[in-house]
């Protein structure tokens, strides 16, 4: 099942949502302020946030005037185009080392799906023939190391680990030497979940980043910020602080197999110019897909499709 279908499946089960009500304004017959108010409200109900909701509605209004659109059935399409536009700015490519191992750091607040996303990425790249090493850089949370180790076993890749309470930077250091001696292509570094408002934990992350930079010049080649699709406006603050501390190069949006639409990604991409690179669609290792702006927008606006 593709992203679109999974998304749709989630949506079908959540008709009580405002998105479900959008059907209302495309049947109304006339394009007026009420229609745009409904659109704004629907966007707010998808976690798009006030500023971006207003902005998107303005984009649609402008496109409608410019193209002399009179049929409200066209509006969802215009809205979708505006979303795709907003999401397509930054470069969605993954970056790799020109030679030697590539190192990716995976960061985010607690429980968003970092460790699981690492397992999915490891599986994805192993399938492409790359040799992957996992670095158990969460030395803090209870059984975080065991969790990653179990994933490593399932996927069939090595896990570099220290004991609980060890310095995570030292784990990364060891993973780099292990990757060199074992000729690995890719090091995926797990990190402990941390709230961005905790300065000491953010400093620790900066230190991990610095060690990677020093021990493997050119790295980290990717710093992926994991965001839970169910998160509301706080994700903006997460993106801002993580970007400042470790220079985030891409976003993974997880748990899109639920009913949450991950709409907060829109203001993040728009304001911070960080590309969404992957979406997580379940708890298994193959529940990961490259981000597709159109599918994402289309899934959110699936009513548009149904109206055809």
């Amino acid at each position: 099942m593709g992203l679109f279908d999974k998304f749709r499946k989630g949506l079908e089960k959540s008709r009580t949502g405002l998105w479900g009500r959008l059907g209302g304004w495309i049947q109304g017959g006339k394009i007026d302020d009420t229609v745009y108010d409904e659109m704004e409200e629907a966007l707010l109900a998808a976690d798009v946030g006030f500023d971006t909701a207003i902005w998107l509605v303005e984009q649609v209004r402008r496109a409608q005037r410019q193209n002399r659109v009179t049929d409200p059935k066209e509006l969802p399409r215009l809205l979708m185009d505006a979303m795709v536009d907003a999401l397509s700015g930054p470069d969605p490519q993954m970056h790799f080392a020109e030679s030697g191992p590539t190192l990716m750091l995976v960061v985010g607040v607690n429980g968003v799906g970092k460790t699981t996303s690492i397992a999915k990425l490891a599986h994805y790249y192993q399938q492409q023939g790359k040799k992957v090493i996992l670095a158990a850089g969460d030395t803090f949370r209870a059984a975080a190391i065991e969790q990653l180790t179990e994933w490593g076993g399932r996927i069939g890749c090595d896990v570099v680990r220290h004991s609980q309470g060890a310095d995570p930077a030292a784990v990364v250091f060891d993973a780099i030497s292990a990757a060199r001696s074992r000729n690995a292509d890719l090091i995926l570094c797990d990190t402990a979940g941390r709230l961005h408002n905790k300065a000491n934990l953010m400093n620790e992350l900066a230190k991990i980043h610095k060690v990677a930079e020093r021990e493997l010049p050119g790295s980290p080649h990717e710093v992926l910020l994991v965001l839970d699709a169910v998160t509301g406006q706080n994700a903006l603050s997460q993106a801002k602080v993580f970007q400042e501390v470790v220079n985030v190069s891409g976003i993974v949006v997880t748990k899109l197999d639920g009913t949450a639409k991950g709409g907060v990604v829109l203001p993040i991409v728009r304001e911070r110019q960080i590309a969404v690179k992957w979406v997580g669609l379940g708890e298994q290792m193959d529940d990961l897909e490259p981000f597709d702006a159109r599918a994402f927008a289309q899934a959110i606006c699936s009513y548009a499709d149904e109206a055809e």
């Binding site: 989630g10 089960k13 959540s14 009580t16 949502g17 405002l18 409200e41 707010l44 109900a45 998808a46 976690d47 946030g49 006030f50 607040v109 607690n110 429980g111 968003v112 799906g113 803090f140 949370r141 209870a142 059984a143 975080a144 065991e146 969790q147 180790t149 179990e150 994933w151 399932r154 609980q164 979940g193 709230l195 961005h196 408002n197 905790k198 839970d228 169910v230 998160t231 509301g232 406006q233 706080n234 994700a235 603050s237 748990k255 197999d257 639920g258 009913t259 949450a260 639409k261 709409g263 907060v264 708890e283």
Partner: protein, 306 residues
């Protein structure tokens, strides 16, 4: 963001300062700011709408208390209504007339159930109970080990049966084990699940029928956005939850999901989680969260002084 809204709120309300009576337009302007504050805090749009309507009704035409400016009066009404919506005073846990008391923790993936299970056990022990933790998450890699590690940290027994047994049976056996150990509280940690996952939701229903828990607590991440309404609605429909625990309030989220969940389920928020360290849970204070949701702690401070 916090300070920004707080000051814009003050500014909007400040305009009302010189008035002796609040007119419709005065209140309209203030309500716009309140609406924005609630939306920025992730309170559900529908809930925001209803809420703002109610406050408007109360505020318009009301004579202003001598000690307050009209603006402060509106803030006071908003704060009162928010506090009321979140359940007024703190709620208590239902205890079994005949032990053991059984508590099931349920919720979405990563919400903080396992961590909260340990914290809750510690809270019970503080009140001279003898809790037992039951590891009924057989899906997430190392979920059982996680609970065991936490149990060991705080010296509370953990019952597990591995990962190839039906979680319903684990919960049942957990109660038998509690009786054997002389534990009077059983806390069941369940796997995270999506509210639309029929199979896993059904597993919870079966567990509930099998162990007739005294409390089914929905663990909700305070950072949750608008979807909190679906999540709470569905969990409540299927399990008749008895309360909510709000986690990760040590972050800078304003926690509007709490208001949504409360409004949708009518269930009280019983505790809050404030960190990763295993410490007893904090009792929920509706008034404090009300200030936080509005991002206007300092405004309230001013009113209290008035």
């Amino acid at each position: 963001m916090f300070e920004g809204l707080s000051s814009s709120l003050q500014k909007a309300l400040g305009k009302l300062r010189s008035k002796g009576k609040l007119t419709e337009e005065d209140v309209q302007a203030a309500m716009r700011e309140v609406r924005l504050a609630l939306l920025a805090a992730d309170v559900n749009v529908k809930v925001v709408k209803q809420f703002v309507d109610r406050v408007r009704e109360r505020a318009v035409g009301q004579d202003v208390q001598k000690s307050l400016t009209p603006g402060q009066q509106v803030v006071k009404i908003v704060h009162e209504e928010l506090t009321e919506l979140m359940g007024g005073s703190a709620a208590r846990l239902n205890m079994a007339p005949k032990p053991p008391t059984v508590v099931m923790l349920v919720g979405l993936q990563g919400a903080g159930k396992t961590t909260t299970a340990a914290k809750l056990a510690l809270s019970f022990r503080k009140h001279d109970h003898r809790p037992l933790l039951v590891a009924a998450d057989v899906y997430r890699p190392a979920a059982i080990t996680q609970l065991q590690v936490l149990g060991k940290q705080i010296d509370i027994p953990v019952f597990e049966m591995g990962t190839s047994v039906d979680p319903v049976r684990i919960a049942q056996q957990g109660i038998a084990e509690a009786t054997r150990l002389g534990a009077d509280v059983v806390i069941v940690d369940t796997a995270g699940r999506l509210h639309i996952d029929e199979q896993l939701m059904d597993e919870l229903s079966r567990m509930q029928q099998a162990v007739t828990p005294n409390e089914v607590l929905l663990v909700v991440d305070a950072m949750t956005g608008q979807d909190a309404v679906h999540v709470a609605e569905t969990f409540h429909e299927q399990l008749s939850i008895t309360g909510v625990i709000l986690t990760k309030l040590d972050g800078d989220t304003r926690g509007g999901a709490a208001l949504t969940v409360r409004a949708v389920t009518g269930c009280p928020i019983k505790f809050t989680g404030m960190g990763e360290k295993i410490e007893p849970l904090e009792v929920f204070h509706p008034d404090r969260l009300a200030s936080r949701i509005l991002g206007m702690g300092d405004v309230l401070g001013l009113i209290e002084k008035a």
